[in-house]
Symmetry: C2
Subunit: 153 residues, 2 copies
Amino acid sequence: MADQKNFITYEDLAVGQKFAAGPQRVTQEDIIAFGKQYDPQDFHTDPVKAKDTVFGELVASGWHTACLAMRMIVTATPEMEGGMVGRAVENINWPRSVRPDDLLSLTIEITELRASAKYPARGLMRTKNTVTNQNGETVMEMEAVVFVPRKAA
Amino acid sequence: MADQKNFITYEDLAVGQKFAAGPQRVTQEDIIAFGKQYDPQDFHTDPVKAKDTVFGELVASGWHTACLAMRMIVTATPEMEGGMVGRAVENINWPRSVRPDDLLSLTIEITELRASAKYPARGLMRTKNTVTNQNGETVMEMEAVVFVPRKAA
């Protein structure tokens, strides 16, 4: 497999390292477009009908926030692009709603690194990913488990 | 809060109940469009460059599969629309890749139901959600924890 890129490898990483990404603004138009395509419920698609829902207002789908976090990860860390592969995601929660014009930022902290027994060419990295809004309030948290390439021997 | 819809409530549900949704076809065009917007890595955006990546071919972003599962849930269960609110998602994993023209189906099984101590008007439902392809192979699994409205007293 040709691999021309100079990826970040397992050996470059350490528990406790943090990466920041964003900010990324979310518009009402973005929220509605995503809602119509992937989560068509009134509170994600219609600012007027949303008033009569449990949220009382238009809010972003939680999956939209997750996807925006993914985009922030990729665009903020191009040297990781193509080299890392998600294995699992654990414990996603959304403690606050994302509203139109919120400005989201992402922090990634490495919480665990270990060799993969199954794949000697890869390590496994666990990260705690936190998305906050412009007021510093957490709107999404999750843990990601990612395969990371190891330096060629 | 006006609530004209006849939602499924906590009292209508039982552990062990299953819901099926789909099938939903995923095209190469869908995979690339999603990849460019939310997960811009060669293996999600470019069938030629994908050959030189760890996947060796174009595959759908795992977040794309998660979003398609959400759409299947909403469109298959319109009587739930607007009444249920996701609280958390646990243990997402993607044991196989989703490829162009795969036909995805979703099964939802209720694994736990309990009253919410914090919100008397809601119950909490835990489900195991499984997405399979046209060969019956699992491409995504996750557990969802969802607030469900209770029947008004």
